[in-house]
Symmetry: D2
Subunit: 262 residues, 4 copies
């Protein structure tokens, strides 16, 4: 369970976030006994972190202080080794919620991507649920698998290779997420493996693909169909200059689609 993790000392093999005293710079490091790590504030020995508690200060060879923290869930999702575009927090959070993903959920994901969404889903389904992650490419899935292992979530994920359109060979799963170029190919397999009331989700880059998926899902018997996009605007807050939205923003990351098996 999470609370035990945070009360335990850092162990070799874990990833730790080292922050400078002002909280401005941070470094994500995988702890390996005997190694050293070079920062802007000097060199740190991994052994100086292993065995310490979360929030404790460690010193560089320049006597600068760094604080050791475990990465947050968002940091673990965003800092995966990437071979593909990853799903942003703004979208991943909504997908997980619409699928009612929680402890005990059994969820299908097609494809595995770089394992960023998998990280979120696997975290939430513990201790008794499971994520079934399919991808057509063994090469890409290997990256996702490596990221999941590194996050110590391997016990809750089953990885398999599957062509788009192939059967998931599962029954009564709670949710299915489609993140692939031709999601309509997987609508029938999704319907067949979902329990009544289970939810299908997809993230889709273009309006034409969204339309095809939507109409195919409607024909396949999904109800409560819903398409949306989520926009995130950063707000700048400064004591003197004041409050206003940031100059630049991410304009688009994909359309979200949801439907419920009836």
């Amino acid at each position: 369970m999470d609370e035990s993790i945070h009360s335990q000392p850092f162990a070799a093999g874990e990833r730790v976030l080292l922050k400078d005293a002002g909280g401005r710079r941070s470094y994500l490091v995988e702890l390996i006994a005997g190694r050293t790590f070079h920062t802007h504030d000097g060199v740190i020995k991994h052994d100086a972190v292993i065995g310490r508690s979360e929030g404790e200060a460690v010193e560089t060879h320049l006597r600068k202080t760094l604080i050791a923290l475990r990465p947050t869930l968002v940091q673990r999702m965003m800092k995966v080794k990437r071979k593909t575009q990853i799903i942003y927090p703004k979208d991943a959070a909504r997908i997980a919620l619409e699928l009612s993903v929680g402890p005990g959920s059994r969820v299908v994901e097609m494809g595995s991507g770089s394992g960023s969404l998998t990280t979120l889903l696997a975290t939430l389904v513990r201790p008794s649920g499971r994520v079934y992650s399919f991808d057509r490419s063994a090469e890409f899935q290997a990256v996702a698998r490596e990221n999941i292992e590194r996050a110590s979530l391997g016990d809750w994920v089953t990885f398999s290779i599957l062509e788009a359109g192939g059967s998931f060979a599962l029954r009564d799963v709670d949710g299915v997420v489609l993140d692939l170029p031709e999601p309509w190919l997987a609508v029938k397999p999704a319907f067949d493996s979902l329990r009544p009331g289970g939810v299908l989700a997809s993230i889709i880059p273009n309006a034409e693909q969204l339309k095809r998926l939507y109409l195919d899902a409607e024909e396949s018997g999904f109800v409560e169909l819903c398409a949306m996009e989520i926009l995130e605007r950063k707000i700048l807050v400064r004591r003197q200059e004041g409050v206003r939205p940031a100059d630049r923003m991410v304009g688009f990351t994909g359309y979200l689609f949801f439907g419920q098996r009836f």
Copy 2:
């Protein structure tokens, strides 16, 4: 666990969603033995639903078919009995993610509102975590408590009455959510109860309040400060007319604020 719930028959006391065959109309009903329920498609006896499995069809006295489903997490959040403005899914999902809420998490919520966000948090922290929900008003908190009991989540929530600014009397919690008019009053108590690396979140209606909270949190030693707003745009998909955003949208529900205890 969730998967066992969905494989079990409907029981008296549960809430069930009845949908007509086309999936257009739906009714949320709390099942009570001996009662009847009136729909546009005719009258249903609760006893005709109790004991049935999810996804099964039940018949009205007019021989119309309704399908019985358990409500999704979003439906449970949105259909709470309300005495207050509730936090929308677009915002609740992001708050839960930024706080890394998952199985085992210990999370503080101030105030309880109508229990909508509480429903999400309590669902996610099971089976070994806990939500500590504080409110200054016993009257409002009674509504949240009733909603949580009705959702069978009472085992994972501790409700308490507390004035804004009072100590949570907790240590090493993973996250704190502030949804109250003067969130800056609770910044110090939040800092004191969070573990190192724990995250503070707040949803705030106005720019001035956001600024005050942001600057107070900065002074109190929070780092990784971040303010944003989340916008949701519904997309219409129609076979003939085509794809386009909906005419009307929710323009604003609040600023989100996040900071990490250091």
Copy 3:
């Protein structure tokens, strides 16, 4: 010229905006000698307004004061008699700017709609330019024509009936605006009537139509192709409660398309 209008007294036949003293309520009235007008603040005789100067106060029979003003350009655009959806200020303003519409411009509009955009274009092209407004429906165009006459802009607009796809029979116009269901039908006629460097604009409701127009325009030799949407968010400013975006907003009114004849 505008400045002379505003220094002249109100004349019969003109439309005038009557506002209550607090500036909260306003009434748009067409002045006709001998008539009366009923307001929440009492009855006004039109003759009490005719001959007065802009900004002067007039009294109702209840001795309440109303201020008489000429409507602004936006008010004239929005208060046209409508038979169709009109183009919103956020979109109309951008279309006029992208077409470089100004004094002397010769601009084609297909179709006439209710004359709202025509009002803007005709206002801007004076004194030596001209708007050529085409529509396939004589019935709809009659409404636009009536609105333009009422706005005293008839000298700068030529109305004609034309099927989509028909030739505008004009040469070297500065801009063409297409507001019709199948704008691609008018791409070739637009190209033929534009001068080199002249700009084509369109407002289009759906993604599929936008795509067809865009690709057809590209094939016809238009360059600098650009598609966008314009969003307007009202901001609430209140002394006590503070500053924040409005709860509800218009989510979508159409995609804008622009291309330059080469």
Copy 4:
């Protein structure tokens, strides 16, 4: 008038846009007899452009073809020599519309900026109107003046130096635009110089400034107060990949404020 400009041959001193045959690359050149201009497609003699008509092809020394066009109004606004942040087309278009700026309008602008908005206003008020452009800095205003002269709009603009808060010494102007750090200082002078029904506009970077301006304008007797922000989303249209919003967008350029003198 515009139409005569576009039917006249290019003259020395004018700025011309040279585009390659595909319409991809474009160069803005001020024509000076005897000079040469270097492009990716080879060298062009200015004398090969002077005397040609708009839309005619000219050849580089590499026998590549370039098309000569006059810049559009937006291009003239965006390509001013800059010493300051300029007002974007999305905002400038709306400001001009809300102020009902057209032929004959008399408009005040404080400050001059780099002359980008001045270019739009001066274009629209011709032939009988006038823009009064004030700035506290002679150095900045010199840039705006140079840009206006280069755009041949000097006959319609009066430049003056004025401290924020100083009187415009004008009466019955149709509109006032404030683009300065402390716009509330100019609310009283704006009120005094506007005709009844005239409109005050401002573009303001922060929520706090917006609030102060809004409340001061309300106290000074302005009505129909309105604050908004305008967002522009570029839409990508590709034959194969499909239609979707662009990945990145401008998130914020300023709040717009409008009020009407009563």
